[in-house]
Each structure stands twice: as C-alpha cells, then as structure tokens.
C-alpha cells in the first residue's frame, strides 16, 4: 500500500480526483504508464501464475482425488467413489488416524511447553553477557544447523540404540531398553489411544533441535529491546520476573508471533524425523499416513492418501485463516489508532 502511494505521490491529488470520477480500478492503473505497466503486470503475473500452478492446482487436484479410487498409473483408471475414502479412514483405519491426530496435537502442545519455554529461558540467560556466552550459544545452536532427518539418524544410532545406545547405557543398568520400539502408552487416552513411550522419545530428540532454534530467534529479539526500558523497570523496583513478564515480553510481540507461527507449522508438518526412524508403531503423524498411501511399490493408494492430505490441509488452512484474520485485524487496529 505504502509503496503504491509513494510511487504515485506527484500526482496524488489529481489521481484522487480521477478516482472519484472513474472508479478505483481505472484510477489505480492510470498511475502506471507504458513500460511501467508491463513491469508491474510481469511482477504480479509471474508469481501469481507460479503460485496458482504450483500450489493451488495441486491442492485442488488432491482434494478432487480424495474422492476417487486410483492406483496412480493411468488417468483413465480414476474411479469416482464419493466419500468412501473418508468413511474408511474414520472406521477401519481409525486406529492409525486418531493416533496420528493425537500425536500431531501432542507435538504442538509439547513444542510450546517444552522447547519454546526452554529456548526463551536460555535466550534470556545468555542475553546477560555471562562469561562464555558465545560458547554456550554455539553449543545450543549446533543442532539447529542439522536437518531433522539427520537428528533422527544421530539419536537412533548413538543414543537410542536398543542394546548399545548412550541412553541405554545410562539408564538400562546392563539391560537393553527399547526406546524407539516401545509402543506402550505412557499417558493413555481412552482404551485404544494415548501418548506412547517411543513418541515421547522422539519428542525429546525434536526438542534437542527446536530449543536452539527458539533460543536464537529470541536472542535476536532480546538484543533489540531498549535496555533503558529494563533499567527504568529496575529503578521502579520491579523484580526480575516482573520485568520480564510486563516489560520485556510484551515488547517482543513481533518475535512472539513469529515463534507461534513457526511452532504450529512445525507441529503440523512434522514428518522427516519420524520417517527416517521408519515410523515406529504409534508414532504416526498425519503427513506419514499421507505418504504411506501415496509412495511405495504397489503404486500406492492415491485416493486414500489424498484424503489424508486433505484432512491435513483443512487443519493447516484453518490455522492460516485464523492467523491471517487476527494478524491483519491487529495491524489494522494499530494503524487506525
């Protein structure tokens, strides 16, 4: 908005008069003459085209395919089956589906109360210019440069190996511990579902990486907090916690929003670490169920895979809509005031 206004500044008054005569659309286009117009069209058109072609067409195709039965080989073999895939997911495949839904939700909650809180705490402590702060920052940040898939391999072979892993040596007392295969529920939810021991083990590995990520983001934010604010609070006699809670934390709102978004997306798209661990039983997440039905040697089951993808899409899209409306409403309010 601002940029468009800037470009049009010399003729703004004339434009606004013209706008009232010819309507907003004509007025806006009138601002750009000849060459400029083509540049603007290209700059808007190419990304729009790419976005529609690479994001929305496949999305709509997936939604349509979720109502079909298709082996993924020949277009002519696609059969319309209505809601059958969804019906099967909620009945015969419910054991996997609801477990996956639970796991995605648990991951979301866990990321907030575990690594996010810890990351903020670490950032707050390291912001204190304590001795060796760079060293500690380096240590906590190192896992972040690894992809989650690599994190999975490291934890599986070094830490969680049933007979010889580090965690087995520390806690096993000479016995083997089945860290990644133990699918019994630590926190049961009803008779058939719950949070399994091996999923908790994976959560710890995810936290190992995510904590550093949050720490770095927050550390960057803390550096930008005006230190006079903190000093003023201290002079007014507020405690450490009060200063953080009422002065520092609110002034970091932009960073907090980024962290909420990153965490929610991270929880919904969780895939790589569980996939490289070969999806131990009861650690399924929605993205795994999707790929299990799409990839593979049998040509997969495009219909059911797409149905899982559509469910995941609806969840993500719900969050995006909620976030966008809220965010823009807040920005709007800020601008108005």
């Amino acid at each position: 908005m601002a940029t468009a206004a800037d470009i049009g500044t010399p003729t703004t008054q004339a434009q606004s008069q013209l706008k009232s005569l010819t309507g907003a659309k004509a007025g806006r286009l009138q601002q750009f003459e000849g060459h400029d117009r083509w540049v603007v069209l290209a700059m808007l058109g190419i990304p729009t085209f790419l976005h529609v072609a690479l994001v929305w067409i496949p999305t709509v195709a997936s939604i349509l395919l979720s109502f079909t039965d298709w082996k993924g080989i020949r277009i002519s073999d696609i059969q319309w089956v209505g809601l059958r895939n969804y019906e099967q997911i909620f009945t015969v495949f419910q054991k996997s589906f609801f477990q996956a839904l639970i796991n995605n939700s648990v991951l979301l909650v866990f990321l907030f109360i575990g690594p996010t809180t810890l990351g903020i705490l670490l950032a707050y402590l390291l912001d204190r210019d304590i001795r060796g702060t760079r060293f500690y920052q380096g240590i906590f940040f190192t896992p972040v440069v690894l992809s989650l898939a690599v994190v999975g391999f490291i934890w599986k072979s070094v830490i969680y190996s049933t007979d010889s892993g580090l965690a087995t040596q520390l806690f096993g007392g000479g016995h083997s511990i089945d860290w990644l295969g133990n699918q019994s529920f630590v926190i049961p939810i009803g008779d058939r579902f719950g949070v399994s021991a091996n999923f908790l083990a994976i959560l710890v590995a995810i936290a190992w990486r995510h904590t550093g990520y949050i720490m770095v983001l927050y550390l960057a934010g803390l550096k930008s907090v005006d230190s006079s604010l903190r000093e003023a609070a201290m002079l007014d006699g507020s405690t450490e916690w009060q200063t953080f809670r009422h002065v520092v934390f609110p002034s970091l709102k932009p960073i907090n929003v980024v962290i909420v978004v990153i965490t929610v997306i991270e929880a919904l798209r969780a895939f790589d670490i569980i996939y490289v661990l070969k999806t131990p039983r009861k650690t399924e997440v929605l993205s795994i169920l999707t790929t299990n039905n799409l990839l593979g040697e049998g040509g997969g089951n495009v219909g059911r895979g797409s149905a899982y993808a559509t469910i995941l899409f609806i969840l993500c899209f719900g969050f995006v809509i909620w976030y966008v409306t809220n965010h823009f409403r807040n920005t709007q309010e800020g601008a108005d005031s």
């Binding site: 039965d69 082996k71 993924g72 080989i73 020949r74 059958r84 099967q88 009945t91 015969v92 495949f93 054991k95 996997s96 969680y160 190996s161 049933t162 007979d163 010889s164 083997s176 511990i177 089945d178 860290w179 990644l180 295969g181 133990n182 699918q183 019994s184 091996n198 070969k278 131990p280 039983r281 299990n292 039905n293 990839l295 593979g296 040697e297 049998g298 040509g299 997969g300 089951n301």
Partner: protein, 439 residues
C-alpha cells in the same frame, strides 16, 4: 547387498509359485502350449547376441557397493560391444518409492522382482512380454518354477530371473560345535535346543523388527509350516480370513516362542540382532542369507543354516522362502533389439557368473551356472531351494504391498508389543484387508 535399512524386506525378491506336481504339470502344459504356438514364437525374430547396436538405457537400483560393482561387471561382460549401455543408477529406496512414476517413463531394461509384483505391473500394461527371449535359449537353463515365476496373469513371460537367496534358521557352526549342539530335525528338537541355549545364558533366537518387515519372516515360516503353502498363499491374496482359527493358532504358537526370542524386538534393527549372533550372545536367527553381511568382512565361513523344521506332518518341510530378483522390459523401449539381447545375456550363466564374482550373498538363477564358483553356504542354499517343491516370496512380495506395509507390518509389531491383544489385532487386520483387497 542393498541398503538393509529399508522400509521393506531386502532386495532379491521372491516368487510365489508352486513347484508341486500340479504346478509342474501346468508348467509342462504351458510349455507344450508354447510348442504348439511355434508359429507365434517364430513371428518374433530369434534373439541373438551381437546383432543390435546403438545406445541402451538400463535402470539400476543396485546402489550399494557390492551389488553395484557386480552389475558393472556383468554389463562389462556383455559381448555385444556395438551396444553402449547407459546405466541410470538410482538409490535403492528412492527407486522403490518412486516405482509408479518411474514406470510411466522408464529405462528400456528395468530391475524388479518376480511373482505378484511383476504380475501387478504386467496387468497394468506397463511391460513388454519377452516370450521371444525365453524361446531364444533362456528356457533351456531355467527351472519350470522360475519360468512360472516369470509369467504374467495373461500367460505371457515378462521377467528374466537373475539372482535369489533363501530364508532359514541361521547359526554359527563353531558355536554349535563348542556346545555339542546339532541342527534340529524336528520342532521338538528345536525347542529342546533352545532350552539348552537358555540354560547356558544364550538367547536362542536373535530378533530385531525395526522397519517392521523382519517379523514377517517368522510369521511366514510358522504359517506355511503349520497351515501349508496353499493356505498361506490364499491368505496373502485376501482369499482366506485373518480371523481364521488357523491364523490364530499361528499366533498362539508364536506366543509360546516369544520367550525364546530376543526381547524388545521392535526398536532393534536386524543388523543389531545379527551382531548378537556374531558375538555368540544369541544362538540362532530366523533371517535370509544376507545376514552374512553382518559378519566381520562379510566372511561367511562360520555361517550355516537349516530350514525351519516340520510342524505339521501333512505339510512337512515342503515349502521354502526364496526371494528372486531379475529384469523387465519396458512397454515401449527405445532400443528393443539391444534390450532383448541384454536380457538374454542377463538370464545366461555367463551374465550371472560375472555378477556373482562380486556378490557372494546370492545364487544365480541359471541352472547351468558354474557351481564351483559357490562357497559352501551358497551350495547349501542351492540344495535347500532345489529340495523344496513349493517356494514362497516374502510376505511383502506375496501380497498387496500396501497391505504389507500399512497393515501387516503394524499388526505384527502390535502383537510383539502386546501378545495378549492378538484377537482384536486380527479383527482390525481383517477389516483393513477387506478395505484394501475389496477396493
């Protein structure tokens, strides 16, 4: 051989065809029909190595070091030097996962498995029949069972057998000798042996089920020993029910065996389990011959196996699990003549000997192969497979792969985690089988 850290059972796949009397008769009848159909056979030009020229693309999922060098050696040995073979090498797992997409625009010659999974693609009209290659000499040095394993549902041949291995109970002869044990000849003897191992503080069966396919091997052995080949194959094809009492009996017997198997199998890789066999902490392991790779330097001189003993006199030890690997011809190859020549060569003793010079973990499929090349373990595999009248694929190759990966593997893992819940596991399995086979 291949990256064994896969989501499914190891490469050389399997064929699921009976070599029993009825199967043999059918094979003979088929051969006779082929003979009668001679004019059709002659309609194809006789495939003869040396006529074709130009570039030929060959797909390869032989991404591990040993099989890769073996395949290179085999292609190097291809006598027709007018053909330039271009090898399109893809990581093994990537190849398996993208096979459907790959087959829409494949290389001329494609690596794949015999049996159900070849038939599936043949039925989708993605492959060219190669009856002419078989008629040009291949049939002379392939067993009837292998020929049947290469036949599609329409009766045409689509597959060139290349290498195979088998499953059995593997052990270290030196450990057995040290304790004065003998390979058991009956199920009772096996149990006595296991008890004696436990008394000495040795875990009878090394067991790892990470990736959820290794336990399928134990299920297969128990099922075809207790219920026979035919029931097992019908169960695989969705024609028998998982809630059948015969299946429940298999799991009842498996529950009895669980104390003899290494505990906590679900998170342990088969390689980790095999290291127990190597170290002597475990006495035996139900696995394929590829377990030799877990031995130091791949030295298999102290590795032997015996077939799973008889459990039901009606079925004896007639069935063996022997996965076979081979080659397919694409639907519309760019250089069909060169592709047929290479397929003929891959099916010959000369082509397979070149490969086996590098890879000692498998057996060549050609019957006229130079057996003096084989080490004692390979000789035993050859003898065991030749002695078994019926041969199965591995579970994930005998059934719909989606059922194997998304249903059976998870059900077995659930059983191993909580054997007492087997009835509800089997109920779920049956309803999921109906959704997959019915759909």
């Amino acid at each position: 051989m291949t990256a064994r850290n896969t989501h499914c059972s190891p490469r050389p796949s399997a064929f699921g065809f009976a070599l029993d009397r009825r199967g043999l008769l059918k094979g003979v009848a088929g051969a006779a029909a082929l003979g009668l159909g001679l004019p059709i056979g002659l309609a194809h030009a006789q495939v003869e190595i040396g006529k074709a020229s130009g570039e030929l693309t060959v797909g390869s999922n032989y991404s591990d070091e040993v099989p890769k060098s073996g395949l290179h050696a085999a292609i190097e040995a291809f006598p027709n030097k007018n053909v330039t073979v271009k090898l399109n090498e893809v990581d093994h797992n990537t190849f398996q996962e993208n096979i459907t997409t790959y087959l829409q625009n494949p290389d001329d010659v494609i690596p794949w498995f015999a049996g159900y999974r070849m038939q599936y693609f043949a039925a989708q009209d993605l492959l060219s029949p190669i009856d002419d290659v078989w008629a040009s000499g291949l049939a002379d040095h392939m067993s009837e069972g292998f020929k049947l394993a290469s036949t599609g549902e329409d009766g045409k041949l689509y597959f060139v057998p290349w290498t195979y291995y088998c499953w059995g109970i593997h052990y270290r002869p030196s450990v057995f000798k040290e304790h004065g044990w003998m390979p058991p000849t009956s199920y009772e003897e096996l149990q006595t042996l296991a008890k004696s191992m436990q008394d000495k503080g040795i875990v009878p069966f090394a067991f790892g089920n990470d990736g959820r396919w290794p336990a399928m091997g134990t299920f297969d052995q128990l099922d075809f020993r207790m219920n026979g080949y035919q029931f097992h194959m019908d169960l695989m094809k969705g024609k028998e029910k998982w809630t059948d009492d015969r299946v429940k009996n298999v799991f009842k017997e498996w529950t009895n065996l669980l104390p003899l198997q290494q505990e906590n199998p679900n998170g342990r890789t088969w390689q980790e389990a095999a290291s127990g066999l190597v170290s002597g902490d475990c006495g035996m392991m139900t696995i394929g011959n590829f377990v030799g790779q877990a031995f130091p330097n791949g030295d298999v001189s102290d590795l032997d196996f015996f077939p799973w003993p008889e459990m039901n006199p009606e079925f004896g030890t007639k069935t063996i699990e022997a996965p076979i690997d081979g080659w397919l011809l694409a639907k519309s190859p760019k250089n069909p003549d060169a592709a047929r020549e290479l397929l003929l060569f891959f099916g010959s003793a000369a082509g397979q000997e070149a490969y086996l010079a590098k890879d000692k973990s498998v057996i060549g499929a050609a019957t006229d192969i130079d057996k003096s090349l084989f080490n004692p373990l390979q000789q035993k595999v050859l003898a065991a497979v030749s002695a078994a009248p019926t041969v199965t694929q591995f579970l994930d190759r005998d059934t719909n792969p989606e059922f194997a990966a998304n249903v059976a593997g998870q059900a077995f893992a659930d059983f191993l985690a909580d054997p007492s819940s087997i009835d509800s596991i089997l109920d779920d399995m049956q309803s999921q089988a109906e959704a997959i086979f019915g759909g």
